[in-house]
């Protein structure tokens, strides 16, 4: 299937020279990257490099110490509370845990953003919710409570909720973590289909490298507080950069060290 993808030259998100510290710990030291419109971007990198943090910075849940993050040309960190909440209506986010509201049914969870932000009457609202649930294959689970669903199903309901308001961008935080091969396949297909059918700009943070690269159009690798690689998955595979090579091949030692910094063993024992 071929679709007309928007021009890569007009990124949806631009990140410029971002410095972010948590207490004393430096997370980013001058991080710059861009997320192309209408494509699937993968954010990869070793654990603890702040991939999820980047999603939270884009969503304005965290603010950088310096630098600029623009979403569709709007500078996120300069926004007042109300304007920020308005901007977030244009983004969906799928959290690692699903983050469904435990006291609401599947239907009410998906209906929640619609009830808050639209004035649809009950009949139309039901129709929209059922369509969103159909898209993730869970129309049959409409009356269940979140606790009655498996982890993978919860994530799919959360996905239906994230696309309820037809956002322009959706951010996935570790969507494949802890999934069996079938669940993983389902989610991979969903991410790809939603991107193609709705033209959603998609950002996927994931550890499942091969699976993520198989659907991604653009890869941003974060390591050592900055972007270590940015480009297409093919370019990443072909890269000679020792850091990228170590990461792709899963070698324990290289630019990212296996040993936590310590004095020589002989001095310690």
């Amino acid at each position: 299937m071929s679709v007309d993808l928007p021009d890569l030259d007009t990124p949806f998100v631009e990140i410029e020279n971002v410095v972010f510290r948590r207490d004393e710990r430096v997370i980013y030291e001058g991080l710059s990257a861009s997320i192309p419109r209408g494509r699937i971007s993968a954010i990869v990198g070793p654990s603890g490099t702040g991939k999820t943090t980047l999603l939270r910075l884009i969503g304005g849940q965290l603010r950088p110490q310096s630098g600029d993050i623009r979403v569709d040309g709007i500078s996120v960190q300069g926004l007042k509370r109300h304007a920020l909440f308005d901007l977030r209506k244009r983004m969906g986010m799928l959290f690692q845990s699903g983050a469904l509201f435990a006291d609401l049914s599947v239907f009410e969870n998906v209906a929640f953003p619609l009830r808050v932000h639209t004035t649809l009457d009950e009949e139309l609202l039901r129709l929209v919710v059922l369509m969103k649930l159909e898209a993730v294959g869970l129309r049959g689970a409409v009356d269940l409570m979140p606790a009655e669903l498996s982890g993978g199903m919860q994530r799919r309901v959360a996905l239906a909720r994230a696309i309820a308001l037809d956002p322009e961008m959706i951010m996935y935080d570790e969507p494949f973590a802890g999934q069996d091969p079938i669940g993983l396949g389902v989610l991979l297909t969903l991410v790809k289909q939603l991107n193609q059918a709705l033209g959603l700009t998609s950002v996927v943070v994931s550890h499942d490298l091969q699976e993520t690269l198989s659907i991604a159009d653009h890869v941003i690798m974060i390591a050592n507080n900055r972007v270590a690689f940015e480009g297409s998955p093919d370019a990443m595979q072909a890269s000679n950069d020792p850091l990228v090579e170590q990461f792709l091949n899963g070698r324990p030692d290289g630019p990212v060290r296996f040993h936590f910094p310590a004095p020589p063993l002989a001095e310690t024992i």
Partner: protein, 260 residues
């Protein structure tokens, strides 16, 4: 020495930072315009959760405290042959002190801890972050209804506590120990002043409601989102809220009844 001064400075800064964050949280939660219809329904739900569900513990405690007051009061007053003043003693103790204070302490244990744990769990399971990303302010949606529910529930619970306590006192004093029912109730009616006793007790109750609920929602919202963090924050809520209630009680009593 320098290290010790540094530690004191750090602790002071942390406390001031905490107070600032807590004030900001309360201000952002309740100030400004809100969607009255939706928030009214959420608040009613919370009044049920923190108020109605606390009723049983409040009624049972009120009854027993009233009964103990009746028993203790009778043994002391009968030494002076003035056991007919039992109604007055029971009612004044309850309206001025025990009603507001004990209700607030029980409320901190029953409802305050539940509020902290609930908000904390919502934070740990990313439900608060998810609300934010849907474009809904969790301070308005989650914190504000719980705060108002506490403000509404605690004074009412306190009134119920006092009423049940008076009945408990009467049960022991009149039905068991044989104080004359007429003098018990008449003395109570003659000595309890609405503004001086009942209204002042209510003011205390409202202040305690602000303190307890504020501490509970702040501790829940600000905790470290792990199982250990939730456990610590829940404990902190009960400890801080109880101490704050007792401290405020002293100051309020000094202001209200200090000139006597």
């Amino acid at each position: 020495m320098i290290e010790r001064i540094r530690a004191i400075g750090r602790a002071t800064l942390t406390q001031i930072g905490d107070l600032g964050r807590a004030s900001l949280l309360l201000f952002q939660a309740i100030a400004g315009r809100s969607r009255v219809g939706v928030h009214w329904r959420l608040t009613v739900d919370q009044v049920y959760a923190v108020g109605v569900l606390s009723l049983s513990i409040i009624v049972v405690s009120g009854l027993f405290i009233g009964m103990v007051l009746g028993l203790q009061g009778y043994t002391i007053l009968s030494d002076y042959g003035s056991e007919q003043a039992l109604g007055q003693m029971v009612a004044l103790s309850l309206t001025r002190e025990l009603g507001p204070v004990v209700t607030a302490l029980l409320f901190a244990g029953r409802a305050g801890s539940a509020l902290t744990a609930e908000i904390g769990l919502m934070k740990a399971t990313e439900q608060l972050a998810s609300l934010e990303m849907i474009g809904v302010d969790p301070l308005r949606r989650v914190v504000a209804p719980r705060f108002w529910a506490g403000m509404i529930s605690l004074p009412i619970l306190s009134l119920i506590f006092v009423s049940v306590g008076c009945l408990g006192g009467a049960l022991v004093g009149v039905s068991w120990l044989g104080v004359d029912a007429g003098s018990f109730w008449a003395n109570m009616q003659a000595s309890v002043d609405f503004w001086n006793d009942v209204f002042n007790g209510m003011i205390k109750s409202v202040v305690f409601a602000v303190v307890v609920t504020w501490i509970a929602v702040y501790q829940g919202y600000d905790l470290v989102p792990t199982s250990e963090g939730i456990a610590r924050a829940t404990t902190r809520t009960v400890v801080y809220a109880s101490l704050a209630v007792l401290a405020f009680d002293f100051f309020l009593t000094a202001v209200m009844f200090g000139e006597v």
